[in-house]
Symmetry: C2
Subunit: 210 residues, 2 copies
Amino acid sequence: MTTPNSPIRRASKELTRQALVRAVLDLLADRSLDSLSLREITREAGITPTAFYRHYRDIEELGLILTEESFRSFGPALREAGVRAARSAGAVEGIFDAMVGPRSDSLSHLRFIVRERDGGVRRVRRAIRRELQLVADELAVDLADVAGLDGRDREDRRTLAGLVTETLVRLLADMIDAEPERQGEIVTVAGRRLRLLGLGDAPAAGGPHS
Amino acid sequence: MTTPNSPIRRASKELTRQALVRAVLDLLADRSLDSLSLREITREAGITPTAFYRHYRDIEELGLILTEESFRSFGPALREAGVRAARSAGAVEGIFDAMVGPRSDSLSHLRFIVRERDGGVRRVRRAIRRELQLVADELAVDLADVAGLDGRDREDRRTLAGLVTETLVRLLADMIDAEPERQGEIVTVAGRRLRLLGLGDAPAAGGPHS
DNA sequence: TGTACATCAGTGAACGCGCGTTCACTGATGTAC
DNA sequence: TGTACATCAGTGAACGCGCGTTCACTGATGTAC
């Protein structure tokens, strides 16, 4: 009556789930979540359509899982990028590479978040917005340790963190489908925005480093 | 050999086009452009699927027309809102109502722009981004007339205009599908962001009015 | 260790349906004279 | 003003296809003893 758990079965099921997740991330390269068909996804994942139901009720549920998974890597990376940008607005040049380079999935996670943040699936949209809010709030805490910002009050740091988060997300969103020759300009604009927010190498107290 | 133009035929064709545009705007309430089927759109517009081809090659082309049309009303409204916000960050409270109230189509235009800005149709995405860039650039020019900002240089005003535009778009995007009880908080956050940008009732020279 | 049974991820056939696009057409509107 | 012809937005039938979901099934893995 109780045989649900076992190492091999668990591992195998987890593999299929990962295949489904990756299939959606790949298909999302130039599509949006609510335009994907269940058959397309399972075809890409290498299983039959029927098997999908062993894992998720529908595509929306898979989308929520994807949100969670995407933020597991993207969340901390964005937070870290925010701190670096706050320390030195000039650091923005390396942020795109830093966020996409390390793990090869990062690019597709980023794309998923950007695409579905205002996309056609309400629950996914909401989940993404909530997660971004959390990242901004955590960043606000981190900012207390940044030279030049330690004097501001908590509400002020939260507002600043929100603006930094938005600026970085926009930077990344624009970068991922810009032609290479336009990427320089996008980075420059983001740098100017961060400086205008009074970050980094600004006339505030303390230099750009520490 | 030459009978293409005539008042009645033109007017009738224009009516159908408007019906198609409105159909897409309505369907986009909780969907994204690339998930709509041609048959759905024509059904909603009250014509046969075949008739669609008398007007547009495909849905993407209709999406580009929609972008143009949406910005015809939304563009100037956003620009105006930017100026008002720059004059007084407190004015942000009325911006959502001001932008959605006057013309009943405004809400759906706004939703279209927000949803498809990072959506699944590349050419539409690009068109929307380009239009938003134009609005921000025009706003930058307007900002030269705002008390307290007239001293800044051109590049600085452009950067500021970009940040104001992003802040307002985010405000609107969050407002259009927030529960009513959360809308107050969203407006408050936007107001704080604008003040942090040094706008409105800030310690700059000159009062909020004129 | 060996055997009999239970679990359950994945299969493959089948269903009815909506899809995009084609085609030859209709009939109201417009033009020529 | 009347008539014969041209235009062209919209029609309706037809096509082959991929869709989501159901169902009874298979067979590898796990458990009891």
